[in-house]
């Protein structure tokens, strides 16, 4: 059985700046990281590999420099890594993205039966949480979102039981495979790559699939296939604070001052 982990390279959002003129992200000099939720998706795939001997494929759609992200997945133990990269895929919204990813998974399924697709619950750049469900819909897989624990898997009966983390409650769901599962951070603690794995992965090859391999209608992918577009992006204005006391030399006085200020603006409930 093949387990697919979808991972995305995202800009390190703590360091993102927005160009006030063009309203787009300033991409220059911004480091990229693996979408944090996706590291948990990959980890769960690797745990199933350790437990059941499933093979794990990591896939990502993105520009050529996203190869580093996939190489890291190989260093962690993924058996294969596929970068879906084509100029035609650029500028995609969640619909067009899920089309490309679904097609890649379908293609993988031809070689080896795909049992589970893991995705992070959302990305930290787009924050839509739509791509995972989009993949499930397009492939007709069971859709299990916000999973924080895999309770049981029966590979023979093709059954899975998971716990979903919902607001104020948990929900335990049993479903049949193949399934698309989006994961939350609580699911696991991602592993740290060993040095031998890192060294080997630096030589391992990341497969590159363009639209030549996927053969999708160019009108349905990338910017052309995206019904949504970003009209404006901006960071909210933040009121500048003020320094009200000297906590170093007068901690008691400063604390009193702070409490008075908070009370004065009715920000503290007593």
């Amino acid at each position: 059985m093949l387990v697919v982990a979808c991972i995305k390279q995202v800009p390190d959002t703590t360091q993102v700046q927005i160009d006030p003129v063009t309203n787009t992200l300033v991409r220059e000099g911004i480091p990229f990281i693996v979408n944090p939720y996706d590291t948990h998706a990959l980890e769960e795939g690797l745990r199933l590999k350790d437990r059941f001997g499933f093979r794990v494929a990591a896939i990502s759609m993105g520009p050529p420099n996203a190869e580093g992200t996939l190489r890291k997945a190989l260093a962690l133990g993924a058996d294969e890594a596929i970068l879906l990269s084509d100029r035609a895929f650029g500028g995609a919204d969640t619909l067009a993205t899920s089309r490309v990813l679904s097609e890649a998974i379908r293609k993988l399924n031809e070689a080896e039966e795909v049992g589970i697709v893991f995705c992070g619950k959302q990305t930290i750049d787009g924050d839509t949480a739509q791509v995972g469900p989009g993949i499930a819909t397009r492939l007709g897989y069971t859709q299990l979102t916000l999973v924080d624990r895999i309770e049981a898997i029966d590979p023979v009966a093709r059954k899975i039981r998971v716990r979903r983390k919902l607001e104020g409650r948990h929900e335990i769901v049993e479903a049949s495979l193949p399934a698309m599962i989006t994961v939350v951070r609580e699911l696991n603690r991602p592993r740290y790559p060993t040095v031998p794995m890192r060294i080997e992965s630096s030589e391992a090859s990341v497969q590159l699939w363009s639209n030549k391999e996927l053969q999708l209608d160019e009108q349905t992918v990338g910017l052309k296939g995206s019904p949504t577009w970003v009209s404006r992006i901006f960071s909210p204005e933040r009121e500048k604070g003020e320094i009200v006391g000297d906590g170093m030399s007068d901690p008691v006085g400063s604390a009193n001052l702070l409490v008075d200020k908070l009370l004065g603006r009715d920000l503290l409930a007593i």
Binding site: D12, T14, Q15, P31, I33, R189, P190, R191, Y192, P193, T194, V195, P196, R198, I199, E200, E203, M248
Partner: protein
Amino acid sequence: MSPNPMLFGALLLVSLLLFSVGCYRRLSLVTLGQPDQRLDNPALRLGRMLVHVFGQKQVIRKRFGWNHAVIFWSFIILMLANLEFMASGIIPGFTLSFLPAALHHALLFAFDLASLLALAAVLVAFSRRLFFPHSSMSSNYVKARSVEGFLILSLIALLMVAYFGLHGATIAAGTEQGAAAMPVSGLVAALISASWSGSLASLALFFWWLHAAALLAFLCLLPASKHMHILTGIPNIFLASAEKPNHQPREEFVKGGRYGASTVQQFSWKDLLDGFSCTECGRCQDACPAAATGKALNPRQVIHAIKTNLLSNAPSLQIGEPGVMPLIGQEGEGTTTEESIWACTTCGSCMSVCPVLIEHMPKIVKMRRYLVQMKSSFPEELFPLFENMEGRSNPWGIAPTERTKWHGPMEVKAFEAGKTEYLFYVGCAGAFDSRQKQATVAFATILDAAGVSWGTLGKDEKCCGDSLRRLGNEFVFERMADENARLLKERGVTKVVTQCPHCFSTLKNDYRQYGMELEVIHHSELLARLLEQGRLKLNREVGDLGKLLFHDSCYLGRHNDVYSAPRKALELATGKAPGEFSRSGRESFCCGAGGGRMWQEEHQGERINLNRVKEALEQKADTICVSCPYCMTMIEDGLKDLQAGGTRVRELAEVVAEGLRKVSSAVC
């Protein structure tokens, strides 16, 4: 007295054979270790050997060590006496009397006195073991080996008793040449004359054989006991690392490589020799902050485990098979637990007190390297640290763009080669930690006030990687060190001043392995210099700090021998020498944050920082002066935990900068 030369010769031969085989069997195991170059800087090595071996430098730091020094020097003197004795066993009647009479008599007197002193010292040692057992004698696996200690002491005592018996009898019989030079034996002779009515010749013969038996038994037992140190200790001191602090060797990252140490033969030969040099004196255990606060780590046990593991696995290792006993695993005599490996703060106090200069810390780091790099097995708290260091080059994962936020309204210039003298390497804590940022500003203000030409790398500065290296994440450290070396070279940096002793030590010592020969000084050194040279003129004497104690940082003091500079700076700024902790200088007690412990929880025993803070509070300190951001955090936290609001922590630069305030403002 006519000992049987044939019988003695045969016994001597057998003993020498057993001794040689015993030594060979043990010492040949050392060759299972990895190569390590230990012959550089011979002058330093020779000098150190003289001081530590013949001067017994570390031994006599402990009061009880004087007893050892007496035994040691007696042994050196008596070595000649015993050679004479063995020769007399083979050539009956042989003595040193062929020497000029004056020299011969002087030697006889020395032998007599040394034997008495040795006997007295052995009796003191005996009673100490029996009646005043030291705390370090009660740790795991030590009790059983205590028997060995008694056995050896008994043998030495027996040797001395036999010596006096033999010479007393011969003096009484009137057959001893130079009897006048042997006052103690003379007394024994008088005692014998008064109480022994039998044949004096047979009494002498009895003591002769008793002496022979004790001597030969000692020879046979030596290689198998911890007293092997009398053979290995001296070369071990000569071969100890010439680097300070004891460097970790670089690792070569290649395909198929194995990293760190999970088996004894992955240690260097010197690491293995250390095992055979350990006398189990317990000084390291007493000095260790982890052991003192009830952690799993006991540095002595780490060394003993390596030796036990080597001996136990030797039969398999020598035929190229893996050993059965794990080096890292469940608690056992030849095994070190992961928990104890992670408990080390790399403070170096174990190494600084070891009489035979055993290097504990590099061994612990080698095992960490294995755990991190081969097994990815480490305390959970380190996961974000490793990710943050690799991703954002600082421990907290704060955006690198915020590295210059400490500037505030200050004008901070970028370092420019040729124009700027010092690169001020701010360090992660100096740039990001809100408390340490105050010290950064204080130091920068001082630099400006003294007219020092300085600049920073601004947002381009990266973490030095200290924590990663001590935690065994050498792979990522190497990337960071390479990147930093490239950056510093590219910018033409030659002189660096740091406020963090960890940056200081890493840039100064570790980066030499990366081709960086920088002149690195700690801000305490620069502050002392500026004040001494009068380049920094203070407006007032800082006198309102109450009782001030200076806390030595491990990476400034023990690892780099910078003790006097911060004290000098404090003295010049405050008008009086700072107060001292009861454990200070090279005996300073760690704050608990070194070696990557800063980023881990303390789950076991008392918190190390509390131990240190309690010491300060017992001494009624009003101000604790630190010179390290880790110490700052740990000691401030400790004071908060103990609700000791009356005591404050000041960074050295903050104290000095206080003196820059106008006199008038000091009043209000």
